[in-house]
Symmetry: none
Subunit: 203 residues, 4 copies
Amino acid sequence: MGTQQRRAREKEALRQDILDAARELFVKEGYENVSMRRVAEKIEYSPTTIYLYFEDKASLLYAICEETFAKLAKRMEAITRDSQDPIEALRAGCRAYVDFGLKNPNHYKVTFINHPQHPRDDQRHLKEASMGMKAYGNLRAAVEACIRAKKFRQTNVEAVTQLIWAGEHGITSLLITMPNFPWVKKSELIDLMISTLIDGLRA
Amino acid sequence: MGTQQRRAREKEALRQDILDAARELFVKEGYENVSMRRVAEKIEYSPTTIYLYFEDKASLLYAICEETFAKLAKRMEAITRDSQDPIEALRAGCRAYVDFGLKNPNHYKVTFINHPQHPRDDQRHLKEASMGMKAYGNLRAAVEACIRAKKFRQTNVEAVTQLIWAGEHGITSLLITMPNFPWVKKSELIDLMISTLIDGLRA
Amino acid sequence: MGTQQRRAREKEALRQDILDAARELFVKEGYENVSMRRVAEKIEYSPTTIYLYFEDKASLLYAICEETFAKLAKRMEAITRDSQDPIEALRAGCRAYVDFGLKNPNHYKVTFINHPQHPRDDQRHLKEASMGMKAYGNLRAAVEACIRAKKFRQTNVEAVTQLIWAGEHGITSLLITMPNFPWVKKSELIDLMISTLIDGLRA
Amino acid sequence: MGTQQRRAREKEALRQDILDAARELFVKEGYENVSMRRVAEKIEYSPTTIYLYFEDKASLLYAICEETFAKLAKRMEAITRDSQDPIEALRAGCRAYVDFGLKNPNHYKVTFINHPQHPRDDQRHLKEASMGMKAYGNLRAAVEACIRAKKFRQTNVEAVTQLIWAGEHGITSLLITMPNFPWVKKSELIDLMISTLIDGLRA
DNA sequence: CATGAATGAGAATTCATTCAT
DNA sequence: GATGAATGAATTCTCATTCAT
């Protein structure tokens, strides 16, 4: 029994090592530019071993995205829960979203930008969609709080949520895909987006 | 005599065929995942032939972007020129931008969404930057007009331009890459983005 | 246990097969005109497999040369060591060199005749140079012994060594590359070269 | 008639332009590293045009070699004819041979070193052989003169000729194929070879 | 559990050459 | 006589993946 447990723990540990190595490489160099061999070398195992833990390269990526998505959702939840003022909660949530994207540009790319529509891999696609919906749900809740508190002229929760998401996403994706563009100071641009939208929505 | 003209036309036609095929494939599968061979097969020519029209794969991408930028710039110029009121001009320009993206999703995707960053090809990079800057310049002019007419509280032309671009881009790219998401009515969402931003900027 | 040894032996055997195939092809058709695919076909393995044993095409060539140099050096060392009289040692060494070339024409051709000059691969170049210098060192030692024994009028060790090498090489390479030329009896020609050079050098 | 002549002259002129361009490129960069396109660009004609004058790339090389061989033969003839003393004539002829090789390394390589034995191209091969024999004939005549003048102990004309050829070739080919080897001063090495051989042959 | 060995498929690109005009 | 357009075949090398052990 103790043996089995230890085995299971060791197995799980290696799985995590693989994920950690892959995450670091994917994020640093981009999914397409990282080979399975490179991941294997980083953990000092043979490439074959990775296939004992993950079906293929895409699964590796998928597992990483799932993990990171969970983190994003958790973080946003925490942030919006903490704040009393619904507007401030929304503002903080937005900032967290953008920050998250900029800190995990390759995850963000994979999930929200390039979003490879694998032909016939519908199952995976649905799962990904559900991850996205969960994050969207958090934002929606924050928006709803504002509307319920009569902070906004606009009362269509869905429309406002999508509006804000689009704004966040616009900033995040442009900053990621065009890093060489002569942007004004990034943090100011982000704040400007968030406050302009909130101001525009205000009663 | 007529022969030369016909030849020139045929040559130009093939060039366009190549561009069309490449654009479609780049969008559907991502620049990195499309081989020259695949492009060649799509147009039913040999891979070598492509190299008679484009120096290399990157040039193909570059040509696609250039085309897109030119089209977009032309359309926006026309629209902003017509309007008297600077705010209305800006509004119209924004709508034109989003419309352009939605009507030419492949062009838009390749140029603004999937656009890969080439490492160290500085010369090409500068050229691309300059093309982008031209399109950006149009928007900037419209924003400047508003600011000069004291319509906005914010007076940092660069920041406001980038803000609006990000808003437009957020809407456009999300609508393109996530067509299955349960969006509210698209045109309303677009208008909401534009007017919310403008309202938020107003004095 | 035995398994590991067998494996190691098999691996070494395949490595040798690759080397043999490559050497033969390089000689017959010239390094530049032989593709990795051709080598692979000859040994009936996939091209990829070669890359498990050799980093790239140049490494293949390098390994062939290394082998040749090692063989040649070993043989010459043995021969020159045995002789008491320095002149006789030199003579025997020269004969051994030519014999080696004629008996291993493929090795000789690849290493000393067709050897392509790689542009700017300095690191590899230095290594090759060092291998060559070792073989050259043997000859040099034999020459030095003659000079120290005051057998030669000429006292520039380097110059005399290079002279003799050139003489040996001239005979060896012509006999190998022009087998259809109406040569006089080969062994007499070889002896004539060696003794004429030695006579010419003598005090 | 005059027209025809002019045409013929023009045609011949272009043929020469092609040869000149090809020679320069082959000599500078090596046969394998020069493409037909490069040759065409140099003369500012289309690649196709070259094929109106030469059957294929090999023919181009062949024509160049033929030309150069004729030059070598002529030069050696002149030199050996001028000299009164047969030994000096031989010495001068040898120097001319080596100089020729070092000044036309790519010709020398193609003709005497790499000497690609084209499968089944016997006709071309025979021609090449005949060119070689002509040059060999010159050397033989010079050697014969020395022997007839009783300058040499050795009286086997064929053997001595081959000996000297091998010596010349040894120097020439090593200097060409191993330009990075730390040779002593080249001209001294060449002189040393020639005089050592002659001294060794002397009565 | 882990791996060494092997591979099929494919990448971008270049080349000599031909054909219709 | 000259060429623009086109191509088939080839190049080196990399990758994700599998199989026997």
